[in-house]
């Protein structure tokens, strides 16, 4: 059997406005992208091939789903016009459909199904025509049934239109509550109603109230209360004393201290009320918190501590540097490219030499293990241009919109907090951990994080 999933841009236009950072078809429902629920159902119904039709762009979706080999099916894509009838859609995909039975799932709807039921038998035996429908679309079967009809009243199947933030919220909560018994949901958990991703750090005093679903790389800090009914995405930090209840927290979100998130959808710096539809963009670098920005006062002792520690490192690594650097340089294994990086002050750039060491030789491996590629940057700490530890320096041509909001989100350092925490050093993951430390670190914790970063780099390189 073949399945066609057909969407029109207009059906999910609201997602573009409310959650602009995600392709609507990848909108996470209980930490699983929307489209995967449909692909799962198509497979459950016995499809060997699935084609996604849309009158809008599918680029991000294609990058995520690729050719479907991850699910063991053939996944392909095609475009349609908004007013195409089912007949036209079948014509446009005649080669794909072949002579087989075709299930057409149209509309931006959440399908309620139960993975334990035998939809395969049903899909082949049901008479041609509509299988399920709702105001937002329908599931239709074409072609002659292979067998006589079974008692198909047993299999539950219904559609729920995802036409607003409110319905999205309801569908997410439903998926969370019915949980892994009906759908294939991500995460691991010893008990039902509790799903955790990889690298979830939970402080001792955290209280978890089922049901919850938590993504990858999540930090739940002291005295937080999670749940009941909390869906927390990946790369999320819930800071001290905050609670998240009956709420959805999207990927790459930082929830500050002492906050109570109840019945809300938090996405980046945006807080939404699914019931009233109200939405507010926090102008703080991360979701509103009680943190007072007193960086101007605190920065001086920090700069002094960083400079003193940098001086220490300069002294310790002077000998290895003076021996290895000329060797590598002569051997052509030491390459330095100069580029402009963004400095802590938003209006200035900072020219830095970025060193790339070709790690083929033993000396080079030692040099990298000792972080000698960063050695020259240490002098920038003395001049106050770089912190010893902070954010990974960003190239000046990159624009980061939140950068304009103040230095709280970005402080270029020789080492980055992401390296210290051994988190993926790029993208949203790193940004979120850097933000956390930029808001919470003090000069002393900085030093211990530098040591951690140093050890991480040492271990990483010796592993190679």
């Amino acid at each position: 059997m073949k399945t066609i999933l057909a969407f029109r841009e207009e059906e999910y236009a609201w997602v573009h406005e409310t959650f602009p950072c995600v392709h609507p078809l990848l909108l996470p429902l209980c930490n699983k992208p929307f489209i995967e629920f449909l692909i799962d159902f198509a497979i459950l119904a016995g499809s060997s091939g699935v084609r996604i039709l849309c009158d809008g762009g599918l680029d991000a979706l294609e990058q995520y789903c690729e050719d479907g080999s991850r699910w063991g099916i053939d996944l392909s894509y095609a475009s349609i016009h908004p007013d195409d009838s089912i007949h036209t859609m079948l014509g446009k995909n005649r080669k794909f459909c072949g002579e087989e039975r075709v299930m057409i799932v149209s509309g931006f709807n959440f399908i309620r199904y139960d993975k334990r039921l035998d939809y395969k038998n049903l899909a082949t035996s049901r008479p041609t025509g509509e299988w399920a429908a709702c105001p937002g679309g329908r599931i239709t079967l074409t072609g002659v049934p292979a067998k006589t009809a079974l008692d198909w009243t047993l299999a539950e199947l219904s559609l729920m239109p995802l036409d607003s933030m409110a319905s999205f919220y309801r569908a997410s909560m439903e998926a969370l509550e019915t949980g892994a018994t009906r759908y294939v949901l991500p995460g691991y958990g010893d008990e039902p109603g509790c799903a955790f991703g990889r690298n979830v750090v939970i402080s001792k005093s955290v209280e978890i109230r089922k049901p919850v679903s938590i993504g990858n790389n999540v930090q739940l800090l002291a005295n937080t209360i999670i749940g009941p009914s909390a869906i927390i995405g990946s790369n999320v930090i819930i800071d001290r004393q905050s609670s998240v209840e009956s709420s959805i927290v999207f990927d790459n979100t930082y929830i500050g201290e002492h906050l109570k998130v109840d019945g809300r959808i938090a996405s980046g710096n945006r807080l939404n009320d699914p019931k009233s539809g109200a939405s507010i963009a926090m102008e703080d670098p991360h979701l509103l918190s009680g943190i007072k920005k007193k960086w101007d006062i605190r920065s001086l002792p920090r700069k002094i501590v960083h400079a003193v520690a940098a001086l220490g490192l300069i002294a310790v690594f002077f000998i290895p540097f003076i021996i290895l650097w000329p060797l590598l340089k002569l051997g052509g294994h030491w390459k330095s490219t100069r580029a402009d990086f963004l400095s802590e002050r938003t209006d200035a750039t900072l020219p830095l030499g970025k060193v790339e060491v070709d790690s083929s030789s033993a000396q080079a491996a030692i040099a990298i293990a000792l972080s000698l590629d960063r050695y020259l940057w240490l002098f920038r700490v003395l001049t106050g241009q770089l912190a010893l530890i902070g954010s990974s320096p960003l190239l000046a041509e990159k624009t980061r919109p939140d950068l304009l909001l103040g230095a709280l989100t970005y402080r270029p350092g020789v080492f980055s907090y992401a390296e210290a925490e051994d988190w993926p050093a790029t993208g949203g993951d790193a940004t979120i951990v850097e933000r956390f430390h930029l808001a919470h670190s003090n000069p002393l914790s900085d030093i211990s994080l530098v040591i951690k970063a140093f050890i991480n780099r040492l271990q990483e390189k010796s592993a190679i």
């Binding site: 690729e66 050719d67 390459k335 490219t337 790339e356 070709d358 041509e397």
Partner: protein, 141 residues
Amino acid sequence: MSMSSIITLTLPGERLFARVATQAATSVADLVTGNARHEPAGRDFSHAFELAVSEAFTNSVTHARENATAQVVKLTFLFEQRQLTVSVHDANDPFTIETPVPDIESFPENGFGLLIIRKVMDRVIYRRDGDSNILSMSKAL
């Protein structure tokens, strides 16, 4: 693989040579993707360079100054830090890469070139060096 030396290719500034330019681009892209060239990501990578070079070369040829003698288009390829950069040099009048996206509903015939380049590449930099234009296009592996 490491390929930090620069590959340079100089072609006559005529339409006919666009295929030579794009084939060079795909070959270099295939070279740096190595075994991944048969996987979807590897194929996309080399298709991106094929497209970008085709567009840039066509632009250079189309906007060539009339009567300019010995009009050539030079391509350089550099693979560094897992990022392939192709630069297209020509001696035409300066231009801008900040062109508006054409409105498809009005059936436009051109103006898509830079849009395509920006979409398929990670980074596009235009710079004027003396009398030449240099359009540098990079994409990470």
